[in-house]
């Protein structure tokens, strides 16, 4: 079970409710939560429109959005001093709204990794920096961006969400190639009254978002750490490690060797495992339908298998019966109770038909000849080996 190591390493949560206590609380809160949730969906739409209409650099925008997102239950607080001259921020990744929280405090762009239309991308405050054409392209475009545009870039070099309690994933090095001056910041997420995890392993982004809208409020604290500068002779990797260490120290957690790819694999594995468990515990009606034989090739194989245990029955008859029953078990039953008769090959061969003229007849003739051929050769083979 080597694959579950990232899980057991405590990087990800598997359960939204860390304690039994929370579970009951959430159940009690459910009716209120639902109302709040519905109201917030409409509110959320307006916030979204407001966010799109107002210019990113506009002073009013920050204020409006902060109020509105507070109504949505998302409160972003900040501490520490933000450095206005820095063009690239680096943060740890703990929820799907990390970018929004940072954006509320300091408008910024996040390189998009999804293949979504340009309009949508712009609406969400993502920037397409060509990440899909490879890392080199991303770095190149990001460099251009920080030179030309005045919006700084936010990078989440972990590239996958963790619970932020145990360790950081290994940082990707691209932000460190883009700029030599980087301001790290730490993100902490807390939910008063309800201790619900912001994300769990294998959860999709929309599930996480729904939880945000459902719970009364979520506080995301952004703490700006002092700006870090790459030394002249320092390698990209050691600069990256230094920044990662600073963030980890501030959060009081460790650095791990797991990469985002490991996280993705772990999530995939986890999902498969739960699905398997669900199937194993599921109703027994499913497997029988899946055993229905439709593919003729499969049917050939099954016929051969049945022949092995019932050598007296002609292959052709088994195959034809399978065509009718589409099920191995029922054909075996039918052989046992005599519905499928064990005709000897010799008898069968005697009634050779002359082929008709339509291709359809030819094909059934082919099928017949095929099984006869196998049958015949089988008999010959056995005979020869008995003699031996």
């Amino acid at each position: 079970m080597s694959t579950t190591t990232p899980l057991t390493a405590g990087l990800f949560s598997t359960n939204r409710f860390p304690s039994e206590n929370t579970n009951t609380r959430v159940t009690l809160y459910l009716p209120i939560g639902c109302i709040i949730f519905i109201v917030r969906i409409f509110l959320g739409l307006q916030t979204f429109v407001a966010a799109c209409v107002l210019r990113k650099t506009h002073a009013l925008r920050g204020l409006v959005l902060r109020v509105m997102s507070a109504l949505l239950g998302i409160v972003a607080t900040s501490s520490g001093e933000k450095d206005e001259s820095v063009r690239v921020f680096v943060a740890n990744h703990i929820s799907c709204l990390d970018h929004m929280a940072v954006d509320l405090i300091r408008p910024c762009l996040l390189p998009s990794v999804w293949d979504i239309p340009n309009v949508l991308r712009w609406l969400f405050g993502y920037a397409d920096l060509g990440v899909r054409s490879g890392r080199g392209e991303l770095v190149r475009q990001a460099r251009l961006h920080i030179k030309s545009d005045d919006l700084p870039l936010l990078a989440l070099p972990e590239a996958a969400m963790t619970n932020g309690k145990k360790a950081l994933l290994r940082f990707s090095s691209w932000p460190f190639e883009v700029s030599d001056r980087i301001q790290p910041c730490t993100l902490r997420l807390s939910r008063p009254f309800f201790n619900v995890e912001s994300t769990i392993i294998g959860a999709s982004w929309w599930q996480d978002t729904l939880w945000f809208l459902f719970l009364p409020c979520t506080i995301i604290n952004v703490k700006w750490l002092p700006t870090m500068q790459r030394d002249e002779n320092e390698s990209m990797d050691s600069f990256r490690d230094r920044v990662a260490q600073a963030i980890a120290n501030e959060l009081g957690i460790e650095l791990s060797n797991w990469t985002s790819a490991d996280a993705v694999e772990a999530a995939k594995k986890y999902r498969q495992e739960t699905q398997r468990l669900r199937i194993a515990q599921g109703t027994p009606s499913k497997p029988t339908t899946s055993r229905t034989l439709i593919d003729p090739k499969r049917m050939d194989e099954v016929a051969m298998r049945i022949k092995q245990s019932h050598p007296t029955v002609a292959l052709l008859n088994i195959r034809r019966d399978l065509e009718k029953t589409k099920d191995m078990q029922s054909t075996i039953e039918r052989i046992k109770n005599g519905t499928v008769k064990p005709i000897s090959t010799a008898e069968h061969l005697s009634n050779k038909k002359s082929p008709g003229s339509s291709p359809n007849e030819w094909h059934s003739l082919y099928e017949e000849r095929k099984w006869t051929m196998i049958e015949e050769n089988r008999a010959k083979y056995l005979q020869k080996h008995v003699e031996d």
Binding site: S2, R135, V264
Partner: protein, 486 residues
């Protein structure tokens, strides 16, 4: 314009040389004459022919064959094609074994067949068709012949289309093919291909590689010398058709160019971001999360972390335990070896590419010098002829640098040993001279003419030394004469 004092200071070595050479003016003359005949040695003796001239040449061969063997012109062409236009050899072969020669080249059928019953075409199984046959008698319907020729033509086969019957090697003569093809465009295509085949099979003829140039170069050269088309002025190697490449042989330059096309663009990226397949050493970039890699080239399964065979990872799913136990196995010998090979390649490639770039830049320099000469003549500072030596110097610089550039592929493939040491020593000398000459040419016009000429002389001398081996030693360097280009 830079100050003369400055020139004086930096050029003291040249001054010395200058004084030395001033004494032996005659010696230089002689050497330059020598160089002249050496650069002739590089230049292949060629004759540029246009389509009509080629046709005439080929027809002459056909006529001379008909004279000695009395066969029809179209059969003669097939015969000539399969014996590479060697009339003498064909004549010999015919004298020795007429039957066998004709059979082998597909001029005469091995066996003759009777017309099939009720005129059934054996390809489409249609009955009562009008059948056509070559002299072997295998009859097929007109449609099948047409479809057959079209298919072969689309595969690029033209001069060697054989009869459709199995194991009948009889070649369909052009008249027969042209009669079956009904579209004018296909007929033109067939004739074009046929012409191409004729030229390609002729040992003395090569197509000019210039873009859209229809000229054919005729040469009896056996060494990879330089050919220059008289029409489009493109220069190329007379044997293999790529850019002239002395002192590297045709085979070597082919290997080198393929290697460069494979690697150069990405070589830098590769060395930084990829690893090499432990089996075939192809470069691999990891683009997924799983450490279980399969080489796209040799299909070898291996682990990204430890470079071991994946088979040893059987039960483990995504994590390499070998790597966890001992991360140093990643630096396995194979990996290191492959990386070192890449480094060696990059060493040579960078130099090769650098000289190529310098050549391009010096092309501009030459233009500049031309303008400078014009300006000087206009200002009545000497006549045009007086300044011509500057132009000569720039031309010579380009020539030397060109040769220098092509020494790198050769050195790359040269095996370690005294020969490589010697070659690289000579290469080093040439490189030094070329750079000095380049320096002098850039400052030409202000510096001493004598000094510049001394530089020219030495650079050319070093270049000739390098090429000496290539053109005048008979063995090893020789390119196989069969490697004709397409």
């Amino acid at each position: 314009m830079s100050e003369p004092e400055d020139q004086m200071l930096t050029d003291d070595e040249d001054d010395f040389d200058c004084a030395y050479y001033d004494g032996d003016d005659i010696d230089i003359r002689e050497d330059f004459d020598d160089e002249k005949c050496n650069s002739d040695a590089e230049q292949a003796k060629i004759e540029s022919l246009d389509t009509f001239q080629v046709e005439r040449l080929l027809n002459e061969s056909v006529a001379s064959l008909i004279e000695v063997s009395r066969i029809t012109p179209s059969l003669a062409k097939i015969l000539l094609l399969s014996y590479n236009w060697d009339v003498k050899k064909i004549h010999e072969m015919l004298n020795k074994d007429t039957e066998g020669t004709l059979l082998k080249s597909g001029v005469k059928p091995m066996s003759t067949a009777k017309r099939p019953a009720n005129n059934t075409c054996l390809v489409c199984y249609h009955e009562d068709e009008e059948l056509r046959a070559l002299c072997c008698g295998h009859g097929f319907c007109v449609h099948c012949w047409k479809a057959y020729f079209e298919t072969r033509l689309s595969e690029g086969v033209s001069s060697k289309i054989s009869c459709m019957a199995s194991n009948c090697m009889l070649v369909a003569p052009p008249e027969f093919v042209l009669r079956a093809l009904d579209k004018a465009s296909l007929r033109a295509k067939y004739e074009r291909f046929l012409y191409r085949d004729y030229v390609m099979s002729h040992p003395e003829l090569r197509f000019c590689v210039g873009k859209d140039c229809l000229m054919v170069v005729r040469s009896k050269e056996t060494k990879p010398k330089k050919a220059t088309c008289t029409k489009c002025k493109t220069s190329f190697c007379v044997i293999c058709g790529v850019d002239y490449h002395a002192p590297t042989s045709c085979d070597t330059i082919k290997k080198w160019l393929i290697k460069c096309a494979d690697d150069s663009e990405t070589a830098n990226y590769i060395s930084a971001h990829t690893k090499d397949c432990p089996q075939c050493h192809a470069c691999i970039e990891k683009n997924g999360g799983c450490n279980h890699m399969q080489c796209a080239k040799c299909k070898h399964h291996f682990c990204w972390m430890c470079f071991g065979d994946w088979k040893s990872h059987g039960s483990e799913y995504y994590v390499c335990s070998r790597y966890k136990e001992n991360p140093s196995v990643a630096a396995e010998a194979n990996h290191v070896k492959a990386r070192r090979a890449l480094e060696k390649y990059l060493h040579y490639f960078e130099r090769y590419e650098n000289h190529n770039k310098s050549l391009k830049m010096e092309e501009e320099l030459r233009e500049k010098i031309k303008r400078k000469i014009d300006a000087k003549v206009n200002e009545h500072e000497g006549t045009w002829i007086d300044w011509q030596y500057l132009h000569t110097a720039a031309t010579l610089l380009a020539r030397c640098r060109y040769t220098l550039q092509y020494t790198y592929p050769f050195a790359y493939y040269l095996e370690k040993g005294p020969r490589k040491d010697l070659f690289e020593y000579q290469q080093g000398l040439l490189e030094k001279e070329v750079e000095e000459l380049a320096w002098a040419v850039e400052r030409a016009g202000t510096s001493d003419r004598g000094a510049l000429e001394a530089h020219m002389h030495r650079a050319e001398h070093k270049r000739i030394t390098l090429l000496q081996d290539f053109f005048f030693s008979p063995s090893e360097y020789d390119a196989p004469s069969s490697s004709k280009f397409r």
